[in-house]
């Protein structure tokens, strides 16, 4: 059963976690990568971006790009059937039926790991299926009330049976094909025509057509992405995804919606079969405005920005902070990312070091910056000794803080999870994130963490966490830069990285970001996160070559963000699938 094997997969991970106790010195998977593509971070299993452990040192588990290049075996990893999520459903009915009512907004909230398109956690609850039923009826009735949706003259209903059924057949073949994102099979056609006939026994002509369209919108062929493919010589148990499937994979990855007419035409005409075909279409689609929201969404999920506007801050210390400011903070980071991915030549390094950002007037005022004079976000150059990329922006800094003070542990763990793909394990039992026992009101964060350095139990992990988190001490609980502690003493933001490929001490976050920007481990970690988003699932062991090749493509491009996205469409995971019945038992 699904849940059982899913649980087994995670038990496998639990074993990997156990290998990863910080106190053993070098956590598994944290070994310093010696070159591009050799990093061993995160190449197994977590569908959530935050849960993955390292995968151990074995070369077979962590092949290099060079080793992968010589391997002829196709390894598609895992190919779960993907249900449209709420966002994809809304976009799809907008494209399919020109219906912009966003009916999925009334569906129940969905299960999501770090990313909201994780096929392995999306379930079909009773309330969701009730939501589908309500939406499908309304959508069908609305669509058929529009004259141009009716595939024939309205008078066909009052004509003879053959004429009426001809109209239904046309509806099935045209709307069915669009909804199913492929041609409708003869069996499907006959079943839907049968539904039309059954409906005709007690409903009028239009009502019967609507019943057929409603059924199409309730069908698994619409709500799920069901893929076909052809066997691959030399790779038993693997299917090459057919053109229709590839069109949908591209479209739901880049646009979170059904394929556009160009894509469907390419699939129909056999111009969407090779990796080069997929790349060509991906480049075309990447150039369209619709792809921009993909980058914003990815950034939001990857950097855990969804709830920044839900955070509260101490009203005495930060009287000008409001949830609206939190929302602007998120927009800021998403806008910087969008700019770097799309407006020419942005690199991962720039994302982590850019001495500029985007603000509008309100946010600039809150942060003490000048420039913008309207509500529109515009580029603002900042002091490069205080600002370098997304990790010096208030969305990350304030969300990883308490209501009134910095939180170096949250910030350090964030970097280990999201940038290095090497999260520390759970704190020992009985330890709850709290305020500690330091009572001196002038104590610095560094003072408060002193116990971590003297206790060997704590130090096992905090020797890695705290020196990262403390480099952000120049940024307060709302992300504003400050030079001095409450006591008036200058902020000590020194720290460093251990057990990474860019080890060493730094004096502040600016230097930390420089190191992260040069890290192959970070490149690979961001690649892994894009892999999860692009494929709508967490990575499994069989994906190691897909990830290694993508990380290699990113490295060879000099960290080009556009390449980071496009390379995701060239992997075994993206182009192939596991044949039904050939799933590897975890």
């Amino acid at each position: 059963m699904l849940s059982q094997s899913a649980a087994l997969r995670w038990q496998h991970l639990a074993f990997l976690f156990a290998c990863q106790a910080c106190s053993t010195g070098v956590p598994a998977g944290m070994g310093a990568p010696s070159g591009a593509g050799a990093g061993s971070t995160g190449s197994t299993g977590a569908s959530g971006a935050t849960g993955t452990g390292g995968s151990g040192p074995s070369q077979t588990m962590n092949p290099t790009a060079a080793q992968c290049a010589t391997s002829a075996t196709i390894m598609p990893g895992q190919s779960p059937v993907r249900r449209l999520n709420r966002f994809e459903y809304n976009n799809t009915v907008a494209d399919l039926l020109l219906d912009n009512t966003s009916p999925a907004d009334s569906f129940p909230l969905e299960e999501q790991s770090a990313f909201d398109n994780d096929a392995n956690v999306l379930r079909a609850s009773r309330q969701l299926v009730e939501g589908y039923l309500g939406a499908a009826e309304t959508l069908a009735n609305t669509a058929l009330a529009k004259p141009d949706t009716l595939p024939c003259a309205a008078t066909a209903g009052s004509a003879d049976v053959a004429t009426a059924e001809q109209c239904a057949a046309t509806l099935i073949d045209t709307w069915g094909a669009k909804a199913y994102r492929r041609t409708v099979t003869a069996d499907e056609h006959m079943r839907l025509l049968g539904t039309f006939r059954s409906a005709r026994a007690f409903l009028d002509f239009k009502g019967s057509l609507s019943t057929v369209l409603e059924t199409i919108l309730m069908a698994p062929q619409f709500l799920y992405r069901i893929e076909s493919g052809s066997p691959v010589a030399g790779s038993p148990g693997v299917l090459k995804v057919d053109s229709w499937g590839l069109a949908s994979r591209l479209s739901y990855f880049l646009w979170s919606s059904m394929p556009d007419p160009d894509l469907l035409t390419a699939a129909k005409e056999g111009r969407l079969t090779t990796a080069a075909d997929v790349r060509r279409e991906a480049e075309r689609m990447y150039g369209a405005a619709r792809s921009r929201s993909m980058v914003r969404r990815f950034t939001r999920f990857w950097l855990d920005l969804s709830n920044v506007d839900q955070q509260g801050k101490d009203a005495t210390l930060f009287p000008d902070y409001t949830p609206a400011i939190g929302s602007l903070m998120r927009t800021q980071t998403e806008t910087l990312a969008e700019h770097l991915y799309f407006d020419g030549g942005g690199t991962l390094g720039t994302l982590l070091t850019a001495p500029y950002t985007y603000m509008n007037q309100t946010l600039a005022k809150f942060l003490g910056a000048s420039g913008p004079t309207t509500d529109a976000f515009e580029k603002v150059d900042l002091d490069p000794t205080k600002h370098s990329g997304v990790l010096t922006e208030p969305a990350f800094l304030s969300y990883n803080a308490t209501v009134d003070r910095t939180h170096p542990i949250l910030r350090g763990v964030f970097v280990m999870r999201k940038l290095l793909c090497n999260p520390p394990p759970d704190p020992p039992p009985g330890i709850v994130d709290g305020q500690g026992t330091v009572t001196d009101p002038n104590a610095t964060a560094r003072d408060r963490l002193a116990a971590h350095r003297t206790s060997s139990t704590c130090n096992g992990c905090h020797q890695y966490i705290d020196p990262i988190g403390l480099t952000f001490e120049n940024y307060d609980a709302v992300g504003r830069w400050h030079a001095n502690e409450k006591s008036g003493a200058p902020v000590d933001a020194s720290g460093g990285l251990t057990n990474t490929d860019v080890n060493g001490t730094v004096t502040n976050a600016i230097e930390l970001n420089k190191k992260l920007a040069q890290s192959a481990q970070v490149q690979k970690c961001v690649t892994v996160n894009w892999f999860r988003y692009a494929n709508g699932r967490g990575e499994v062991q069989g994906d190691s070559c897909s990830i290694a090749r993508t990380a290699d493509a990113l490295a060879k491009s000099g960290g080009d963000l556009r390449e980071l996205v496009l390379a995701q469409t060239q992997t075994d995971a993206f182009l192939y699938r596991v044949a039904p019945g050939a799933e590897v038992s975890p």
Binding site: F17, R126, L133, A199
Partner: protein
């Protein structure tokens, strides 16, 4: 106030009232309203679960005294008028929280009604490791599948400001599971809940031709849809088959619910006054962001609480289900309590802002005031010479025992009502640190599930003695 003045009878007359309904819900009650009350020899038993997060302040909560002669301190005081209807159980631990992975909040939520330790999975929460959904059904669903068989809903989940953290069901906000890895999400929108639960209840006994036709159409669509699922099934791998099978079984559930009988006895009075203005919107935000709007609605918590309680009570009175839960917010709640002059969020007072005892106690006492209202409502609804409270056990619970430490010991468990004689009330018991698995087993047994395993076997040593 009595039931009649609070819960004015509301007839959902098709036509006039229909415009406000979600269209497909109009098919309910298409001339098929029947008297549902089973004329069975065995007494009806019902179950409610009421969850409030964050534990309690122990010295302001737990009674002192003997089994039958005890005081009820500050937090529990609102329930004092119903002392003889309560079975208060001190000394039960969520021992499963000692195992597994993840944040204590996630461990506590996961195991509360399943008895299961967490397993690694994709849901990260604060600084804890990532966990998966509980790998078992919760007792409310196990019981609901049995005692609500043939009714419109096997169980109903009502949420009061849910979720306040995160974006959908996750390990730290879910206590009910319809199966392993299948979270049962509470409905937190009062208007949506009202429409869904009470559609067609109280409609005229004959229905209209139009509604009858629409019902027929909906049944046809569900049948045709099921045929499509069955048609694609052979090309699915094992895991995908299970996914689609789950979907298929939901279609079947919905189809049978369309014509499930609903009670029309004199006590079935759908709550009045819940309108579209009470809606809480969970928009996808255009760019797919799932806004957690629940926190913004904090000041509405008292109103929503009463609406949810009224609906839960009437879902029982109308025999739409025999198992319902009401979940107040979620673990590490971000909801604030402005009417208590507590403007920071719940978790802030627990420890984000440093543990603050009196605010935590005041919040817990608010929840117990709501519990008391629920008990009152249940005791006001007559069933012959008995009340709904007599036939129901209402289990109050929390995921942890104590706010700042997130301790697994002395989880607040209180049963109100006796489930038709299954539990002997008016008592305060102390189990001295036993696993709460014993309580879960006792609950299953009380509802006729004698041989069910629950939770991690090592903590399961059979039912608690002395409850009945």
């Amino acid at each position: 106030m009595n039931a009649e003045s609070r819960l004015r009878r509301r007839l959902l007359v098709l036509g006039g009232g229909a415009a406000a309904l979600l269209p497909w819900l109009e098919v309910f009650g298409g001339g098929r309203i029947k008297e549902a009350r089973a004329q069975s020899q065995t007494p009806i038993k019902r179950l409610m679960v009421v969850f409030a997060p964050g534990g309690v302040i122990r010295e302001q909560y737990w009674p002192t005294g003997t089994e039958t002669n005890f005081t009820m301190p500050y937090i529990m005081a609102p329930l004092a008028p119903y002392k003889d209807k309560l079975l208060i159980m001190d000394g039960l631990s969520q021992l499963n929280m000692l195992d597994g992975v993840g944040h204590p909040h996630a461990r506590g939520m996961c195991g509360l009604l399943t008895g299961k330790a967490t397993v690694p999975g994709p849901f990260a929460f604060f600084l804890g490791g990532s966990t998966d959904f509980a790998q078992a059904a919760s007792i409310d669903h196990m019981i609901g599948n049995k005692i609500s068989a043939g009714l419109r809903f096997p169980t109903l989940e009502f949420g009061v400001l849910w979720p306040t953290y995160g974006t959908g069901p996750s390990t730290q906000n879910t206590i009910s599971y319809s199966g392993a890895g299948m979270p049962a999400q509470p409905t937190a929108d009062p208007w949506k809940a009202f429409q869904r639960v009470f559609a067609g209840v109280g409609a005229s006994a004959t229905g209209t031709d139009d509604v009858a036709l629409r019902l027929k159409r909906t049944e046809l669509v569900l049948d045709a849809t099921s045929a499509e699922f069955n048609a694609v099934m052979p090309q699915m791998g094992t895991e995908d088959k299970a996914r689609l099978q789950e979907h298929l079984s939901r279609l079947a559930e919905i189809r049978s619910s369309l014509t499930a009988p609903t009670g029309i006895g004199p006590s079935c009075l759908p709550p009045a006054g819940i309108t579209s203005a009470d809606s809480i919107s969970y928009s996808t935000g255009g760019d797919g962001s799932h806004q957690t709007v629940a926190t913004a609605a904090s000041n509405r918590m008292p109103t929503i609480s009463r609406q949810m309680i009224d609906m839960a009570v009437m879902s029982m009175a109308c025999d739409l289900t025999r198992v319902a839960s009401i979940q107040y917010t979620d673990a590490a709640s971000r909801a604030s309590f402005p009417w208590l002059k507590l403007n920071e969020n719940h978790h802030f007072y627990q420890h984000d802002g440093g543990f603050q005892q009196q605010p935590c106690a005041d919040i817990a006492r608010f929840f117990y005031g709501e519990f008391a209202y629920l008990v009152q409502r249940m005791s006001e609804v007559k069933e012959g010479d008995k009340t709904l409270l007599d036939s129901t056990a209402i289990l109050f619970c929390s995921e942890i025992g104590d706010p700042p430490s997130h301790d697994h010991r002395r989880i607040p468990f209180v049963i109100a009502g006796g489930a038709s004689g299954s539990f002997k009330t008016g008592r305060f018991l102390n189990f001295g640190g036993k696993a709460h698995h014993g309580l879960l087993v006792s609950m299953l047994n009380a509802y006729g599930l004698p041989d069910m395993m629950i939770g991690d076997a090592k903590y399961n040593s059979g039912p608690l003695t002395g409850l009945g």
